[in-house]
């Protein structure tokens, strides 16, 4: 099946980015912050600087590598937080029902109604720029879909034989949720998280554009892109490579997520793609 091709491609792209991020310190030929040489700013790609240098005279290649660390951290951690919140709320709401379900449902609706970028912007305004704030801002604002999926899956699982059986057998609610329900919804949640990674990387770029992203001079792709947007004419490489890195990463994780979904359930009802 050709769809596997997309999955493999996604896996490959994601792997490249992960390797680049994990081994940045070994691969990168220069320090991304200190090795700045203003005399050599805006140099085109060469043997010494594979991707040229930016306006500050820093090696774009090294910064793209270290940027992978930041972007991956942002993507993975924020999605981890989202998944945990979403799953915990969704499963418990679906399982217990009642007022708790109503409450979670209401909260989810509120979260859906406030655009996540607006919410993240507000949180960033409070916490100030920086990686931890970004993780919190993006981690707290994107769990509503995960929550919905977890809730609806739990609702349908709740009435199935094995869950009922476990109940009759006298297992505690927490135990049932952990051992019976969680394993059955982990797949879709994982898909959502994988798809969300791309979204988080893009959100980082958008927040950087709005001036509330990662704390410079720490390199992040969003920062690099924002800094270089005026250099598009003079030093296009300073903008092209981080842009490409974002593109590859988001594409990779999206393909991966799509592929995983098709693998898990080819005809999964996708009310929201």
């Amino acid at each position: 099946m050709r769809l596997r091709f997309n999955l493999v491609l996604g896996l490959l792209l994601a792997a490249i980015v992960i390797i680049a991020g994990v081994f940045a310190a070994w691969i990168a030929p220069y320090h991304p912050i200190i090795d700045a040489d203003l005399m050599n700013s805006e140099m085109p790609p060469s043997w010494e600087h594979w991707m040229g240098t930016d306006g500050q005279g820093r090696d774009v290649f090294s910064r793209v590598l270290y940027g992978a660390q930041v972007s991956l951290t942002v993507g993975l951690v924020s999605q981890l937080i989202n998944s945990c919140i979403g799953t915990a709320l969704g499963v418990s709401a679906g399982y217990f029902g009642g007022w708790w379900d109503d409450l979670v449902n209401g909260l989810t609706n509120v979260m859906l109604a406030i655009p996540s970028l607006v919410f993240a912007l507000a949180i960033m305004a409070v916490l100030g720029p920086g990686l931890p704030s970004l993780l919190i801002a993006l981690g707290l604002t994107n769990w509503s879909w995960t929550c919905r999926i977890a809730r609806s899956s739990t609702l349908s699982l709740k009435n199935q034989g094995f869950v009922q059986a476990a109940k009759v057998a006298g297992f505690g609610d927490g135990n049932i949720m952990r051992t019976q329900i969680l394993p059955n919804i982990i797949g879709p949640v994982l898909v959502m998280a994988t798809l969300g990674i791309g979204g988080a990387v893009l959100a980082e770029a958008a927040l950087s554009f709005l001036g509330v992203g990662i704390r410079p001079p720490q390199p992040s792709w969003g920062n690099m892109l924002t800094d270089a947007r005026e250099l598009l004419r003079a030093a296009p490489w300073a903008a092209v490579f981080p842009g490409l890195a974002i593109f590859i990463t988001v594409l990779g994780f999206n393909l991966l997520g799509d592929g995983m979904r098709d693998l898990l359930d080819p005809h999964m009802r996708t009310r929201r793609a």
Binding site: R2, I114, A205, N254
Partner: protein
């Protein structure tokens, strides 16, 4: 139907209340204030007396809870308060931004729909084929571009290099001005729509009733027209609605880039100036838009899908 709308309208209120509360809490702890934003340019120091008077005038010297109470009381009377920045009623500040924002959201959605839905159909007709992989890759690529980056690219190509379209600005009666921002904003919902449509078509094509229709000896065009399209539409409608609903809030970056006078850019400007009443007002408008669009989607559902009853 009317009862349904009424009930849904009432349901909006608690959601809105929570939103107002969240924004209020966030901006009560946010560093920086409207007063400090007055001198952000570093040019002229603002007179301390003026600052004190301003604080007093806007009631910023009152305790937080009193301010919240005042705000909610005003809101109950459809009064959004007075903008710190312009010293006009907030509604006067928001109202002129409304129509441009809606226009942009609808135009972006139009673009997304006319490209995304056919793309999804094409991909789904031969699942697993090269065409499928290709179109999906294209769609996901659209999802993978940072918006401002893509917008800037559009500007360079279509405004500067080709000279076909104006690069920025808003003209009430001009379609040409809306094209580039609409495309830049629409590319990500386009990708989502293509994906949903593809999944939807595959879903429906695998449905039992399509097998029934095949067993009835229907030709493919009749099959798609009579049985597939409407069912896919039901699936796509949710995505469509959610996207239209959230586009107003998502447009921040694009509005800033293209100098589009929408709610999004007003929101960013107001956050920067700590003009809290306008921030509140803008968020309320964005949230309301989302909720109302979703209500409309539900109404549309009822019109298309007989299984859904609206009471």
């Amino acid at each position: 139907m009317l009862r349904f709308i009424l009930r849904r309208t009432l349901q909006i209120i608690p959601t809105l209340l929570v939103v107002v509360l969240i924004i209020f809490v966030i901006f009560s702890v946010v560093p920086g204030s409207f007063i400090s934003s007055l001198m952000s340019e570093g040019r002229n120091a603002t007179n301390a007396d003026v600052m004190a008077h301003l604080n007093q005038q806007f009631g910023l010297d009152k305790p937080l809870l009193v301010r919240l109470g005042d705000y909610l009381w005003g809101l109950a009377q459809f009064d959004l308060g007075i903008s710190y920045r312009t010293r006009e009623p907030v509604w006067n500040v928001i109202e002129p931004r409304l129509w441009p924002s809606i226009k942009l959201a609808l135009a972006a959605m139009f673009f997304a729909a006319i490209i995304g839905i056919p793309l999804g159909f094409i991909a789904a007709l031969k699942p697993g084929s090269m065409i499928d992989s290709g179109t999906m890759m294209l769609a996901i690529s659209g999802l993978s571009l940072p918006e401002f980056w893509f917008g800037l690219l559009l500007m360079y190509v279509f405004a500067l290099q080709l000279g076909w379209l104006p690069s920025f600005g808003y003209q009430a009666d001009s379609i040409r001005h809306i094209i580039l921002p609409a495309i830049a904003l629409g590319v990500s919902p386009m990708a989502l729509l293509a994906r949903t449509t593809r999944a939807g078509v595959l879903d429906v094509m695998n449905a039992d009733f399509v097998r029934t229709a095949r067993a009835k000896g229907l030709s493919e065009p009749r099959l798609v027209r009579g049985h597939v399209a409407r069912n896919v539409l039901v699936l796509v409608l949710t995505t469509l609605g959610l996207q239209v609903g959230s586009l107003m809030g998502q447009a921040i970056v694009i509005e800033k880039l293209f100098s589009w006078p929408g709610i999004g850019s007003l929101l960013v400007d107001s956050v920067a100036a700590r003009d809290i009443p306008v921030v509140q007002g803008a968020v309320i408008v964005i949230v309301l838009w989302f909720l109302v669009i979703n209500m409309l989607v539900d109404v549309a559902y009822a019109a298309i899908d007989p299984r859904i009853k609206v009471t």
